[in-house]
């Protein structure tokens, strides 16, 4: 039978074994915790980007040009990742937000004008988000005079109550609605090989004889340039850079946690683009092939979801749009107020009382309610609002990227974490490409505005 000694020896062995397992798990457990703690900013920042303006632009480009715009997704993913990665790196290694760095290195006046531009551009973005709410509610048969004020008050209260973080997670969860496009795209049975083929630039691929017959080669005219710039403009927005860097600082990401954050930014950039890919393929297979080349209202955009939802397509589209809009509307005004107040030295933070941080609260409230009011007052011109908010983003983006590039290459700030030469090449090329596209869009939209003043 069991002797007392052998039992004790067995107990001893067990204790040792448990200890070994514990020791082995220790680094692993820490890593999980670390990943969960750091995951988020990159994913959020890229997903908020698929907002009302985004969905509109993707649907429009898919309908108008079908597969012929898909090639732009890979360079755009690279540009998005490169520009966001620089900000997250600056946040992790300097521990300062982008607007703080601009203030410290470029002085008050430069910062003031940059911040003024950020406020104007983001007001445009907030208006675009409420336009999304407006469309979604029209699609569900609710008047915008009911839905938009409710949405504005809801967003304001949620954030001031401090429940914003929880709500953020809920919105992020509802982003699963985007998968409706993925499923819809599969049900629409497009020719996947041809779509994937278009991820490579058709302008170059047409010289490969075997694939030439399958290609849709776009004509590079003004309309096409506008669509491309729109895609870039909605995908890579100036506010993302400020938001991401501030979030990295707030999450206390340091050099040791930085690799996890970089992965988060990478996953965020790619997942954002995968969604865009499916939305475009889906609209191309449902609208473009049927000859519907212009998405002029929510009803047309919803057709893309018919393969999945049938007669509920409009409802599904409305829910997706509403979620995307509210998600962005709850993040944009708050992050804008933070960035502006921090840079200019005003008290900020929702943990402060109203009297302590007047300018912060005033700015935050004004952004929401002015944005909502403009949408109510000028609802007829919703398309114009949306377009102009993208154009304004496009104007500000190169400026922000130039600041980022100058700062990230400063040895005294970043030490050995400055950009490598190859990285700088990619970053500067994408910045210059965006400036060129922006100029094209500015030219055409101003031209259009004067040609058809009613919008």
């Amino acid at each position: 039978m069991w002797s007392r000694e052998s039992l004790e020896a067995m107990g001893e062995r067990w204790t040792q074994r448990v200890q070994r397992v514990r020791d082995a798990l220790r680094p692993f457990r820490r890593r999980i915790v670390l990943f969960l703690a750091v995951v988020g900013p990159g994913l959020i920042v890229s997903n908020v980007d698929n907002d009302a303006g985004g969905i509109y632009t993707y649907a429009q480009s898919g309908a108008k040009y079908g597969n012929a715009v898909l090639w732009s997704l890979i360079p755009m993913t690279i540009a998005l990742y490169v520009s966001l990665e620089m900000c997250s790196r600056m946040g992790a290694f300097t521990g300062k937000g982008l607007s703080d760095l601009v203030r410290e290195e470029f002085g008050f006046r430069v910062t003031f004008f940059l911040m003024a531009a950020v406020v104007v551009v983001n007001l445009g973005n907030v208006m675009a988000e409420f336009t999304g709410v407006f469309w979604a509610s029209e699609a569900m048969g609710v008047s915008r005079f009911i839905s938009v004020p409710i949405a504005a008050i809801l967003v304001w209260v949620l954030v001031v109550q401090g429940t914003a973080k929880v709500v953020e997670r809920i919105f992020l969860a509802i982003c699963v609605v985007y998968f409706a496009y993925v499923i819809s795209a599969f049900l629409a049975k497009p020719d996947w090989l041809i779509s994937l083929l278009h991820l490579l630039p058709p302008q170059l691929m047409q010289y490969v004889p075997t694939v030439k017959p399958f290609l849709e080669v776009p004509k590079f005219d003004a309309g096409y340039a506008v669509i491309l710039a729109g895609l870039v403009g909605t995908t890579i927005a100036p506010w993302q850079h400020f938001f991401l860097q501030a979030a990295v600082v707030e999450k206390r990401v340091g050099p040791r946690q930085y690799p996890a954050t970089r992965n988060d930014v990478l996953v965020g950039s790619i997942s954002c683009m995968v969604i865009v890919f499916f939305i475009i393929v889906c609209t191309a297979a449902t609208l473009h092939v049927k000859g519907i080349l212009d998405v002029d209202n929510a009803g047309t955009a919803a057709i893309a979801l018919r393969p999945l939802a049938g007669k509920f397509a409009s409802l599904l589209f409305a829910i997706g749009l509403l979620n995307a809009s509210l998600f962005a509307a709850s993040i944009l005004p708050l992050s804008t107020s933070y960035v502006v107040c921090e840079a200019l030295g005003f008290e900020s933070g929702i943990d402060r009382k109203f009297g302590e941080a007047k300018i912060f609260y005033a700015l935050y409230t004004a952004l929401i309610f002015l944005g909502a009011f403009m949408v109510l007052a000028f609802g007829k011109f919703a398309n114009t609002i949306l377009l102009w908010s993208q154009v304004l983003n496009g104007f500000l983006l190169p400026a922000v990227l130039i600041f980022v590039l100058i700062l990230v290459n400063r040895k005294d700030l970043m030490g050995d974490q400055v950009n490598s030469r190859g990285f700088n090449w990619v970053a500067w090329i994408s910045t210059i490409a965006m400036i060129v596209l922006t100029l094209v869009v500015a030219y055409t939209s101003i031209h259009d505005l004067f040609a058809h003043p009613a919008g």
Binding site: G95, K96, F108, R252
Partner: protein, 411 residues
């Protein structure tokens, strides 16, 4: 009164009235005078920049500076680490307002003129962190001087007196040259200092912690966000880190070490004196989400047969940690836990009363592997301020105090 912004770009003339250049920067030399503007950097086109000393200045007004010496008496500018450059090191940078206990950004500096044997000296009186400074920075040189002045007078001022300003300089050598000490910070409550640190960048935090004395540093680290504490300790010189950890309560030290990679925490434990290190090692064995992970091994225990006066006498002789003196743990003859007595009861008891008669009912204790939720429930149900953790044989291992519970609950 003048401001730094108004002085910047001022045209400078020498004793003969010849134009010398514009003021591009001015410096304070803290080693000599903490608030005097000691040097003016003058530049004119592509000429070599010159420096005017404070005793070479005859008069100062907004936009204009007159020297009391000819141009050839001025020296050429050489960068000096011991000079505090107002534009580069102060304007737009963050400083610590030790009176208001927070981190603020400098918009402008207020200066006053002071006449000393025929010269005019400028002294920094306060830093402007409010709207008037912001407006001046924005409009200086664009709008007329009078308009700016009248506009800023209508705005609410927010200023900090120069003596309450604590500069933040991450580089230790530069800090030494600029005579930046953190004595004023050591007078703040550790919790306030921890809040201030959270608003700074990692390099600045590191600079502050490494210049504080070990006791203050330990108190601040215990108040900081766990992740920040880990980052700071990791970057400290191991010897200094071990000294700080030694000053911390063993449970707080264990929390810090638990967040570090195994090699680093082992290295730091080796640096610490044997007994402290052993206490912390034992605590590290426990899962942070259990009673053992929350407890502190630093507690006061006496035999349960002792009388009130004996205990009070004994306590006076010991060098006891007052934070732990809220409740006394009683041991019976077999060194097993027999109860606990709040010090308040001790005060009101008769002088010969035996402690055993004073102990709290019901007799409560918890095992180290009990889940933290059980701890919370006990504290809530019996309104405890302290709970004793005992091993399987009933020997006390440590105590959990109510502040441990509160900080756990807030996480």
């Amino acid at each position: 009164m003048l401001t730094a912004t108004e002085l910047m770009g001022a045209k400078t003339y020498d004793a003969q009235g010849n134009y010398v250049g514009k003021v591009r920067e001015f410096f304070v030399e803290p080693a000599e005078q903490p608030n005097r503007v000691a040097h003016f950097l003058l530049s004119r086109g592509s000429f070599q920049p010159l420096v005017a000393r404070h005793d070479q200045v005859a008069s100062i007004e907004a936009g204009k500076l007159e020297l009391s010496v000819p141009e050839r008496a001025l020296e050429a500018y050489l960068p000096n680490e011991g000079w505090l450059a107002v534009t580069k090191d102060l304007l737009d940078q963050q400083i610590i307002d030790t009176a208001g206990r927070k981190v603020v950004r400098v918009n402008d500096l207020d200066l006053t003129e002071q006449r000393t044997n025929g010269n005019v000296e400028l002294r920094i009186t306060q830093v402007d962190v409010g709207l008037p400074g912001a407006v001046r920075r924005l409009l200086q040189g664009i709008a007329p001087q009078r308009m700016i002045r009248s506009l800023q007078n209508r705005l609410p001022a927010r200023t900090i007196r120069w003596e309450f300003v604590n500069l933040v300089e991450p580089d230790p050598l530069r800090r030494l040259k600029l005579r930046i000490t953190h004595e004023k910070l050591e007078d703040l409550h550790p919790a306030d200092l921890a809040d201030i640190m959270e608003d700074l960048s990692p390099a600045e935090r590191q600079g502050i912690i490494s210049s504080l004395d070990e006791e203050t540093a330990a108190a601040v680290l215990a108040e900081l966000d766990a992740r920040l504490t880990t980052q700071i300790v990791e970057k400290l010189d191991p010897e200094k880190a071990a000294d700080i950890l030694e000053e911390m309560a063993p449970d707080a030290a264990a929390d810090v070490l638990g967040g570090l990679p195994k090699e680093t925490s082992d290295e730091l434990l080796d640096e610490m004196p044997g007994q402290e290190a052993n206490e912390v090692r034992e605590l590290l064995e426990f899962d942070p989400a259990t009673a053992g992970g929350m407890m502190n091994t630093d507690f006061v225990f006496v035999g349960d047969k002792s009388t009130r006066d004996e205990v009070l006498e004994w306590m006076k002789e010991q060098d006891l940690n007052l934070d732990q003196l809220d409740t006394i743990v009683l041991l019976d003859g077999g060194a097993q836990f027999s109860g606990s007595v709040p010090v308040a009861r001790l005060l009101l008891a008769g002088s010969n009363q035996v402690l055993n008669e004073l102990k709290m009912e019901p007799l409560l204790s918890i095992q180290p592997n009990a889940d933290e939720k059980d701890v919370f429930e006990l504290f809530d149900k019996y309104n405890l301020r302290m709970l004793t953790v005992v091993d399987e044989d009933g020997r006390p291992l440590g105590v959990i105090t109510v502040d441990d519970v509160v900080s756990k609950l807030l996480k």
